[in-house]
Amino acid sequence: MPSALRHLLFIVAPLLAVFAILPSVYENHLMLFNFVVFLILAQGVNVIYGFTGYLPFGYVGFFGGGAYGFAVMVMHLHASAPVAVVVAGLAGVALGLLLSPLLRLSGAYFAIANLAAALAVLHFVANPALETITRGPYGVSLTATFNPNAAYAAALVVLALTMGAVVFLKNSRFGLALQSVREDPVSAAMAGVSVVRMRVIAWLASALIAGLAGGVYAWYVSVFFPDNVFSGTFSIFAIVFALFGGVATIVGPIVGVLLLYGVYNLIGFTTPQYFQLIYGLLIMGLVLFLPAGLVSLATRRGWHVP
């Protein structure tokens, strides 16, 4: 069996099945939905950071852009929700194209510039001058499309697409070429890889993923302010989850989200008074003791991790 098929069958399919069934046995659907959203975002971070080495510290820019893409479609063009979600993804891609010059930067410079870009998008969308388009700071209310169950299903579709993309990267020469660019762009170029094109494709793919996620999120929550969908914690969480599991793998970000977001919710439900403290310490411990993620526990022993 080709490994791509194996990955789809034994990792992606069970994951989707579990999240498709869970809502019927566990009632906190929003928690499940948030799990799915973070799975999507963590894999989106995986695509760009894991496979190319660019840390998208302002990843939420695409997410929020997608959410507002969705809102604008619904408010002004009375689009149906699925159409609006597609447009949300395209909004992410458009932003990605606009920001693609940032790919010229390396390391921390890219991360910081990306963060700045996300904040710029936030301040732009939230400016009262754009009230007629985005409702500025006054927030949107999308009761016309409100349908949590459909939005949850759409989130699963987006997750499936995202996982499919990651499986492709993990099993294709394209993914290998991306990783070679991450490892050493000069050598990659001398292997015949078009470094710029590779990076732009990965960048746009991850922007598309976040845009779609934002669209689905907007569909589900339906009432939100700019601060809600541009909250920096989306970026931070997606990155931390992906890193915690281990990037450039299929299962790493999944494990990261399930464990860490699970623990996060558990702390939130049980000891909310020390929420932030525990979580901060957890993140520090992760970096200090497991810098290459949970999967490194396995790879260190020579086990192959898909």
Partner: protein, 243 residues
């Protein structure tokens, strides 16, 4: 193939500046298919810069670089690779967290070799990398990394190969072995430019050398003749002096 056949690469009056410093100051040379050309000169004379310009890392600021009659100055590296130019690096830069096999796979897949490139297995075998094929490149020793760098270049099926100090750090047995491999490549019709400090190695494999100083060529011919030219000797002694 005869070294007298038409040149595959011609550099004429190539200029490369870094700020006010002229790393290349009107360099002229050519190399023909099947020929091994040595590029020698003191540190800072512009040898590596020349290779970097030809392989597309830097765009030249003046002059002309033509490959098979086509002007290629300033073209992106990967496109030059696709045209048939490749190189190794003084400090090899394999993809450290990928396996040796994956390292080669990338080049095989993306090199767009004009003629079918050698098969993975034969490459691994010919360059003594079979045993480490499934280990990450990070685990390789320096010589193995250099060999892998060379294999990566060969996987794209180059017609012109630029070798930047491939021999440095190799022991005599390894030197003989690699010299044999390079000669075999040339005999198969590949044009090869070798930048090297080890004069013995240069003498062993090159047909012709270009002596460079201050960004331009000052001598062209065989190494045996070069050592009799006072200007060349002075440059080398002066170079040693300065260093």
């Amino acid at each position: 193939m005869s070294p007298k056949s038409a040149p595959i690469l011609e550099a004429s009056g190539v200029v490369k500046r870094f700020g006010g410093f002229h790393a290349l100051d009107g360099l002229n040379f050519h190399v023909a298919p099947g020929e091994i050309l040595g590029l020698v000169g003191p540190n800072g004379s512009g040898k590596t810069t020349a290779i970097n310009v030809i392989s597309g890392l830097y765009a030249p600021d003046g002059g002309r670089v033509s490959f098979r009659g086509q002007s290629v100055g300033g073209m992106a590296s990967h496109r030059l690779v696709h045209l048939g130019i490749n190189r190794t690096f003084q400090v090899p830069k394999p993809f450290l967290s990928l396996t040796v096999r994956q390292n080669i796979e990338v080049a095989l897949a993306y090199g767009r070799a004009a003629s079918a490139p050698p098969a993975m297995a034969s490459l691994l075998d010919a360059f003594h990398l079979s045993e480490v094929a499934d280990r990450p490149a990070r685990d390789l020793n320096n010589v193995q990394q250099k060999t892998l760098d060379l294999v990566r270049a060969l996987s794209t099926g180059p017609q012109l190969l630029l070798l930047d100090e491939l021999a440095a750090g190799l022991n005599p047995t390894e030197l003989d072995w690699i010299a044999g491999r390079i000669k075999a490549l040339a005999q198969a019709g590949m044009a090869i430019v070798v930048v090297e400090h080890l004069m013995g190695f240069i003498e062993q494999i090159t047909d012709r050398v270009i002596v460079m100083n201050a960004g331009k060529e000052i001598f062209e011919g065989t190494l045996a003749v070069a050592v009799t030219v006072p200007q060349v000797v002075e440059v080398f002694l002066g170079g040693e002096h300065a260093a």
